[in-house]
């Protein structure tokens, strides 16, 4: 993180090469956040490009380089939101979840535990669908916490809400994922 802060400061001082260091440090995070939010690699690539373009143009407005990651995630989410609204395929995902999935046990061929599908693309697709079925707030909370590795405090900062709200969104998001996975045939096994 200190490396990013240093790169941001140097870029603001006029060293343009420092921006490349920022990109190399963060492009994977941004891409994977967008991919999980949108469920589509091409859109994620576009959002990543758009995000760094926005960062390049407005980084001079960043008052505290220590808050760079929070700011970066917020911009990424804004671009995801814009693209999400313009896409019809997301609705198709949600439709497939609501119409294609039956109650637990209705589809015995899918009633396997998650580890049994660990290596299959099908499991990944089901997880993607389980996440796509969440409301935007809940999905954002789950993805930021699970995949971006933010602390609960950072999660609240990125989402721009109190800590208690962030915890609530995360909890309910996880519960919904759990229920969606059961509906899609992946039955979590209690330890």
């Amino acid at each position: 993180m200190a490396e990013t802060e240093e790169a941001v400061r140097r870029f603001l001082e006029g060293e343009e090469e420092a921006f490349n260091r920022i990109v190399r440090r963060w492009d994977r995070k941004v891409y994977n956040l967008a991919w999980r939010m949108l469920g589509n690699r091409e859109d994620a690539q576009d959002v990543t490009q758009e995000t760094f373009l926005s960062i390049f143009k407005s980084i001079k407005n960043l008052r505290d380089p220590g808050r760079f990651s929070t700011w970066l995630y917020q911009i990424t989410l804004n671009h995801c939101r814009a693209r999400w609204k313009s896409r019809a395929s997301n609705l198709a995902l949600e439709d497939s979840l609501s119409s294609g999935a039956g109650e637990e046990g209705e589809n015995p061929s899918l009633a396997l535990s998650a580890p049994a599908k660990a290596d299959s693309l099908e499991a990944l697709d089901l997880i993607r669908k389980a996440l796509a079925g969440l409301s935007e707030d809940h999905r954002t909370a789950v993805i930021l916490k699970e995949y971006m590795g933010l602390s609960l405090e950072e999660l609240a900062q990125v989402m721009g809400c109190p800590l208690s709200t962030a915890k609530s969104r995360l909890y309910h998001g996880l519960r919904e994922v759990q229920q969606n996975l059961i509906r899609l045939g992946i039955k979590p096994r209690a330890q």
Binding site: R28, Y31, A114, L174, Q178
Partner: protein
């Protein structure tokens, strides 16, 4: 404490981020005594494991960030001038193409391109009617010359025939005169 009241705090346990608040202590105490909440917590842990199957990937392409140039060049005054120059060039080209003239006149074919339409000054080209008349005249001239040539040739033939006839008459007259003298 009711289970529903503390469940939102499960995330502290799930992610091992205890806040140190009294509620956090109550939560841990509740979990020790409530089998239902422990079961739900275990299910949420399993859900997290399932989510973990979706692994990170590298971006499809590296992000295009120029080494020394900004991603989007700033629209400076010179930038606008450049766009204005390109636009002006395009307008000039369009005008030139629109006012291009190809002519055939007394001096032959000619090609010209102008920005503005040429003024209707002295006409130096043939109209369609004039071209038609010229062709008609040329044909008539040609026909007239042919007729004249034919006439002259016929005249010459007639002259030749007349000359031969006179020579023959002279010959006959002379022969007759010689016989008359002999007798």
């Amino acid at each position: 404490m009711r289970c529903e009241e503390i469940q939102e705090g499960f995330v502290e346990v799930l992610y091992d981020e205890y806040s140190g608040s009294p509620e956090s202590a109550d939560l841990r105490e509740h979990l020790r005594t409530c089998a239902a909440c422990r079961a739900e917590l275990d299910e949420l842990k399993q859900t997290r494991k399932s989510l973990g199957l979706w692994k990170d990937e590298p971006p499809l392409q590296s992000i295009a960030v120029a080494g020394r140039k900004p991603l989007v060049p700033a629209a400076s005054g010179w930038g606008y001038l450049r766009y204005a120059a390109i636009a002006a060039l395009a307008v000039i080209s369009l005008l030139a193409i629109a006012n291009t003239q190809v002519k055939w006149n007394k001096e032959g074919f000619s090609f010209s391109a102008r920005l503005w339409p040429a003024p209707e000054s002295g006409k130096d080209y043939y109209t369609k009617d004039e071209v038609r008349n010229l062709l008609k005249q040329a044909l008539e001239d040609s026909e007239s010359r042919t007729n004249e040539t034919n006439y002259l040739m016929m005249q010459k033939v007639l002259d030749t025939v007349e000359q031969d006839r006179r020579m023959d008459l002279n010959l006959i007259r002379n022969t007759a005169a010689r016989y008359q003298n002999k007798n």
